[in-house]
């Protein structure tokens, strides 16, 4: 879709920017990534009253054009690039009417870049309610730009804003705010001459940010660096001077346009809630309660839709098998592609539910309080107050949790959180644990109330959290920080969640996951299907010929004959060959080649372990019948007659599954969130090493 005019939305965080974006574009939006950083690039289209269409670009929320994080650096680079893919014709700066002073700082910076600009004065209803009186005409006159009062939440003023966008000038008519040139006169002149620009503020920003701007050639950037040295430019001192000058200007503008009561009503209302929610006792109790509720809901509410999706795919697979002619292509489609698709879509309920909660917590302003309360503990281990939610969400599933780390602004904290989240015992480990624990731990009570099996399972969960904390602490020393860690953060006033935004966020996250991580998961699923359904040479043909012999058909029922064949095929498939190949490596952990096959096939997802065990030990019916898998495994004997699954082997296996990155979806989502294959590779390597070490240790201790 080609639009007539491109509009960038710019504003502070918590000003209702995304609500305005949704109000302007409706469902007509698409999400991509800004190059190089993992900030969602949201583009949408809006129909203007004069019949033209506008492309709306939602830029990350920021307090200033000087970025505090790499994500914020997007804003200036998009605004400043000449003739780029996203270069706006017009900027809509959204300001929070209840807090104009701080919001105007960003406006004055944008205005001085001399791009045509319109102000959307949001939350005008709340400002009125709080007793803030704004002389809008006077404000517009002083700044020299259209000021449109809106309430994005109540969808008030949106039509006026659209009209203002369609009437907007092609030229910037706003008043200059401060005397930019006075900050570094010679340097600004020199850069203007070098880069071919007449805008002094653009030149000054280049002096500050040239190192990170991709649209400058290396030669230009080096030249600016030289000029800075020549004119002994001090970036931070210049920023301080500029900010003070801007606030002087803002105070001047606000002096006769805005009257604020001594205490805003909204703030005191918020204050009362804060007294309870950040209370030293109730604060933690309530937070734990909310986490517990989230965790329970992800488990409980997703169970039904998940099994629905799975059943639907079983039906589709059955249907396809009836329609399509039997053959390798049909098998590839059904057991590779459709099975992979089912493995992708089955995550949607968990992702949607987790993001519904996260979006509510963020929207209401509670997330900022969580960070506020948890920061001290989490900082000790190299994490951030906001890491709590992904870590706890990891108990359900690492995939949505890793996607949710986007709320962590600090790069290092975010990477550490991504790296340790898969250690937390997710729900896919549960079937593996329950199967193995039931196999070797007696169901007996100690100290009257504690069931041994329950204790073992609890132990595995506690271990996962402890290991995540320890690894995070180690990584704190390994990772080099790219930016200084700040905790200068706004605590926004409490507001009701906007249910539309909640729905949007559920829809967006699910869609992004399916489209981006889905590709990798389906690819891995197809590879694993090939590995387990084909074997080297004539092995498969020989097996079929062998069982075609009449004595088998006579002595065995068709069902059990089919099972025996599929077991023998799996043993002779590439996966089986690989299982044999890795046996020397896993022998020290107490695993034989059959377990080796399960380790390989369960790379797609941990719970596949149970299914593979069922096939290897050929069990009636499907893998859900854990009882029968358990029986077969209990009876499994080594060639020397000793049982395969001893206490040592079972615990060694559990350790392996506790630490190893046996999940293709997580690998895919870590890649999608870091945009660099080295992160999932490093994660896979350290987790596998940890798994091997722990399994080795446990096997030899218990043997």
């Amino acid at each position: 879709m080609k639009a007539d005019i491109r509009v960038a939305l710019v504003g502070n965080p918590n000003t209702g920017k995304s609500t305005l974006f949704n109000a302007l574009t409706g469902l007509n939006q698409k999400i991509g990534n800004f190059p190089g950083v993992t900030v969602d690039k949201k583009l949408g289209y809006s129909q203007l009253p004069d019949g033209r269409s506008a492309e709306i670009v939602d830029l990350p929320g920021t307090y200033s054009l000087y970025p505090k994080s790499r994500d914020e650096s997007i804003v200036f680079s998009v605004l400043a690039e000449k003739n780029g893919d996203l270069t706006p014709d017009l900027v809509v700066v959204i300001l929070d009417a209840t807090n104009l002073k701080r919001n105007l700082l960003l406006y004055t910076q944008v205005a001085d870049l001399k791009i045509p600009v319109i102000i959307a004065l949001n939350m005008i209803d709340l400002a009125k309610k709080g007793g803030v009186i704004i002389d809008i005409d006077q404000l517009a006159k002083k700044l020299g730009v259209p000021v449109i009062p809106i309430s994005a939440r109540k969808l008030e003023g949106i039509a006026n804003l659209k009209a203002a966008i369609s009437f907007a000038n092609k030229f910037a008519l706003q008043e200059s705010s401060i005397d930019v040139k006075a900050i570094a006169p010679e340097l600004i002149d020199a850069i203007c001459g070098e880069i071919d620009t007449e805008n002094p503020y653009f030149a000054l920003q280049l002096a500050h940010q040239h190192e990170t701007l991709k649209f400058l050639t290396p030669a230009q950037s080096d030249r600016i660096e030289e000029l800075e040295k020549e004119h002994s430019f001090h970036s931070q001192k210049a920023q301080a001077t500029e900010t003070i000058a801007r606030y002087n200007y803002i105070n001047d503008v606000l002096y006769d346009t805005v009257k604020t009561p001594v205490t805003a009503q909204d703030e005191s209302h918020s204050n009362k809630i804060d007294k309870i929610l950040t209370h030293r006792v109730f604060g933690f109790v309530i937070f734990m309660g909310i986490l517990l509720f989230m965790f329970q809901s992800i488990f409980a509410w997703s169970a039904y839709p998940m099994s629905l999706i799975e059943e639907l795919f079983v039906l589709i697979q059955g249907g396809l098998r009836d329609i399509l002619p039997a053959g390798p292509l049909t098998d590839l489609l059904i057991d590779g592609v459709v099975a992979g698709l089912s493995g992708v879509l089955v995550f949607i309920p968990q992702i949607a539910i987790l993001f519904a909660f996260i979006s509510i917590l963020e929207d209401t302003g509670y997330m900022a309080r969580v960070t506020f309360m948890m920061d001290k503990i989490m900082r000790k281990v190299g994490l951030n107050g906001k890491s709590v939610v992904p870590l706890i969400g990891g108990f359900a599933c690492a995939v949505p949790s890793i996607m949710s780390t986007r709320t962590i602004e600090n790069w290092k904290d975010r990477m550490i959180t991504i790296m340790v989240t898969p250690l937390v015992a997710c729900s896919a480990r549960l079937p593996v644990y329950t199967l193995l624990i039931a196999l070797v731990v007696p169901s007996r009570n100690i100290w009257w109330i504690f069931n041994l099996q329950g204790l073992a399972l609890t132990g595995m969960y506690v271990l996962s959290l402890i290991s995540a904390v320890i690894v995070a602490w180690v990584m704190k020393f390994i990772l080099k920080s790219r930016e200084r860690g700040y905790f200068i953060m706004e605590l926004p006033v409490y507001r009701m969640p906007r249910w539309n935004n909640v729905l949007f966020s559920m829809y967006e996250r699910a869609k992004t996951f399916v489209l981006e991580a889905g590709k990798v998961i389906i690819a891995v699923s197809i590879i694993l299907w090939v590995l387990s359904s084909y074997g080297p040479g004539d092995r498969f043909k020989n097996i079929e010929q062998k069982y075609n012999a009449p004595q088998y058909a006579r002595s065995m029922k068709p069902d059990s004959l089919a099972r025996v064949i599929s077991t023998e095929k799996l043993e002779n498939s590439y996966a089986g060959v690989l299982g044999h190949a890795i046996e020397p490596a896993i022998r020290p952990l107490g695993f034989d080649w059959k377990i080796g096959i399960a380790l390989i096939t369960s790379f797609a997802a941990r719970e596949v372990f149970v299914g593979t065990m069922a096939t290897i030990y050929s069990v009636d019916g499907d893998a859900d019948r854990i009882d029968s898998v358990q029986q077969k495994m209990r009876n499994a004997k080594n060639p020397d007659g000793s049982p395969v699954f001893t206490l040592a082997v079972a615990f060694s296996l559990m350790m392996f599954y506790a630490f190893a990155m046996q999940c293709a979806s997580t690998v895919a989502v870590v890649y999608r969130e870091t945009k660099d294959w080295r992160w999932p590779a490093a994660q896979f390597a350290y987790m596998t090493a940890l798994a091997y070490g722990a399994a080795f240790l446990v096997y030899h201790l218990l043997k």
Binding site: D274, T278, H279, R280, F284, D375, K376
Partner: protein, 71 residues
């Protein structure tokens, strides 16, 4: 006296900063020399703190608050 030494409810006026890099960020957030700040709450574990400044609530770590010198 620095901002980190104030108790809950106490008010101070920002005079200057000891850390230039931090001061740039604090000033952008409205924490400017001459501005009145009030400590509105302290996190349950004693750090970070929340202050009321230029019409809104800002949270910052004790260490960061200690770079703000009050009048």
């Amino acid at each position: 006296m620095t901002l980190s030494q104030l108790e809950i409810g106490e008010i101070g006026i920002v005079k200057e900063f000891t850390d230039l890099e931090m001061s740039v960020k604090l000033m952008e957030m409205g924490c400017l020399p001459g501005e009145e700040v009030r400590v509105s709450r302290i996190a349950p574990l004693g750090d970070p703190i929340a202050i009321h400044v230029s019409g809104y609530q800002l949270s910052l770590r004790k260490f960061e608050a200690s770079t703000i010198i009050l009048q």
